[in-house]
Symmetry: C2
Subunit: 513 residues, 2 copies
Amino acid sequence: MLEILDLSRKLDPETARVERRRLGEELARLQRAAFVHGLPALFVFEGLDGAGKGDSLAHLVEWLDPRGFQVHAPRGPSEEEALRPAWWRFWLRTPPRGGLALFDRSWHGELVQRRLDGTLDDAAWERALAQTREFEQQLAADGTVVVKFWLHVSREEQKRRVRAWAKDEHQRWRAELARERREHGRKETLRVVEEVLARTHVPEAPWVLVEADDDQWRRVGVMRGAADALRRGLAARGVTVADPSAPDRAAVSPPVAPTPDTLPPGFAIPVDSPLARADLSLRLDKADAQRELAAAQARLRELEFTCYARRQTTIVAFEGWDAAGKGSAIKRLIGELDPRGYAVIPVAGPTAEEKAHHYLWRFWRDLPKGGHLAVFDRTWYGRVLVERVEGFAGEEAWRRAYREINEFERALTEAGVVLVKFWLHVSPEEQLRRFRAREANPDKRYKIVPEDWRNRARWPQYVEAVGDMLRQTSTAAAPWAIVEAEDKPYARVKVLRTVVDALERAVGRDAKS
Amino acid sequence: MLEILDLSRKLDPETARVERRRLGEELARLQRAAFVHGLPALFVFEGLDGAGKGDSLAHLVEWLDPRGFQVHAPRGPSEEEALRPAWWRFWLRTPPRGGLALFDRSWHGELVQRRLDGTLDDAAWERALAQTREFEQQLAADGTVVVKFWLHVSREEQKRRVRAWAKDEHQRWRAELARERREHGRKETLRVVEEVLARTHVPEAPWVLVEADDDQWRRVGVMRGAADALRRGLAARGVTVADPSAPDRAAVSPPVAPTPDTLPPGFAIPVDSPLARADLSLRLDKADAQRELAAAQARLRELEFTCYARRQTTIVAFEGWDAAGKGSAIKRLIGELDPRGYAVIPVAGPTAEEKAHHYLWRFWRDLPKGGHLAVFDRTWYGRVLVERVEGFAGEEAWRRAYREINEFERALTEAGVVLVKFWLHVSPEEQLRRFRAREANPDKRYKIVPEDWRNRARWPQYVEAVGDMLRQTSTAAAPWAIVEAEDKPYARVKVLRTVVDALERAVGRDAKS
């Protein structure tokens, strides 16, 4: 299969940019449709060292809603995993309906490695191939889209890349790892790879081979493969996803009548609220913001590697008004990060299992591993916000929660975790403008739901709850940052910079990994 | 606190037996009420080596429904745990509403050990005590019953026990461990223990001190402490649990009118069903059964240790007709086992998270660790039984499931797991007799629900589904055992013996750990 690939294929940067944007926007629509229709998907990335697995992943997730995918980078079984049957750790990572699981290396890479190392005799090898097919077919039969990417790189290009790693202090460890793996030789390795590809290439879980010598060609190839797979998966369920630029789009999405405003008449933020001090006139010129954002993102990426190397864990907690821009701030925050180093945790109403435990239980459960970054899109503060305002928690319970939360956060910061907490603040007037804009845009209309209008009617209660929260849970080790979010560019830059500052304070301003 | 204990306290075996039965029956009622009213409870067992923590636990759970408790024996943080803040692994093990978590050693034992080892300076020690109080108080404030048992043993008795371990080949490792721990000396150790007890003895999470030199006294003391705690926890919620032997009991539980039988008229098991071959006249004399049961339980306990030492994992899967006696067979199966070595996994309708995954996902997730025993009370066969009969799974899906399940089980047995599958079979007539007996008994009436009568109406469909299941999933590595369960003593002995046989085949008939 691999010999027919033409590794000289290239795309010029401008064509690639246009194509990536087109595919990226489609992928975002497909992901949303997959979520709505409960379609799970599992993508595997395999390839020789230097083929560009991590980079392909990063360029793919750039377009996706971070609340809808999980990146897995399994490396050898852990202590716990080694005590279970071999497939346990992969079964546990299969995506839920509507979710997307992305594997940077997988059971396939391990299979190749074990065969090369000689730990699989012919019978075990046959059996392992059968188990692999079985695993993927069971998922596919259950409705999961399963697609596997083999990124193929030439001998010359691979050598060049590994040499480049060796010269980069951040990447040197990768070069060393690659050299170790080289002991089996390219020819022998590819012989085994070929056999795995051929024998696990089934209609329900196909391999997509991508020429990977040219970065642009590879990135576009991966995005196209991903979009094709999701599109087919949705089509099999009778779902087609319309392109909003299609001419007949307006006809199928007629404008909706604006909902009457629900804000209590005459409402204004009381002057004694901590929110009243936020200067909502703060703005940033778009070009300046772009520049500052890019610089901060680049710095954060460096810090991500430094933190990983030093086992420095980070938690970023987002709260704020509906439509204050949490989602887009999170997107910018993680925009340039290696997706293997972070997870975005969307917090919605608790599941039955979560409800059966202490309200902090699920946040304890979701704490990141040492060296990783977790971004909580809404947080444990729900206890003193929505649960208080809606009466889901009794007064005694939410009053007690300030101390409990302070203790929870103290346990984190004492364990060395960097904890950054954001309240994204907009005026009620700006919120209304954003609600209206969403109503008017058929592609964004899904973002505005009746609950948003109900919450808006409760601004007075929420302002009080937010004020109490800010006053009682802003501690030295875990202070709140109020983000003036009336101007989106300003808010995004402030978020990025606040996180960068906090990490630089933790690991040192000149820290490199 | 400890000096006031009178370690010469004793109970004669007959008084203890009567008292244990009385408390045990009350504990069973209290546990059921806690489940119904969603009351969570957490019991901690601490004490010096040889104090009898494991034995106390075993004598406590003997009376409990194994589906309602979990035993945790935390030993140092694992690789995964060490990458999270220290309390993560304990928060994850907090009980759900209605559940009971039992800790054989806990954060308290670790705290004592770290203080003795000198790894906690005064500030860290103060902080750790504060965190301990905080953790327990947060749970208590959320409604969890938190009780901590300190089992206190005299120097002489402890020495005697450790010497006895050293002479027993099964227990020698415990003697060695205890000797290592002795390096700090009893006096120094108890000084630290005293401080932990005093400073974490709060009304919402009290210590119960139990004199442990006499086994009988200790067992009764622990059971009484547990019953008192649950009774108080329920009373705080306004729930009182009536003793069925109380004279006014009949007045509050009037007899109910028998439900009309729902079995289709004229139904009989078709002769071509694999169930038709079961000889339901098989019986065992009660005394014989008792003797055989005791012998098999003792042997199984030996095998439990052997399997633990050899990392031999076991899974026992129970399916069968409603009222066929699954619950009581499971109780006998685990009756003499060390509760730290097994878990009973009750399988009910899937939660939202489970529904969002492949139907086998939750069974993969719940696979036991190497060396442990998992008992599934109902299983993955739900796919081809209730899901088929009730139409929750489409025909294509349940037909596919036979292969999927065979592959799942093959993955287990190939990984070395011993897998035993039971179908507990009774006649429709015997089922009716048992339903009627439950209706007539106020204490068992909760066990019979309208769903049981609905299922009974579907005997013909179930007989067909069971027949297909037995024919298509009885494989060489994972055969079905049909248990003739018309006579309960016979069924219980057959279950025990089948498991013992399977394990002896796996580890050798003369195996000792």
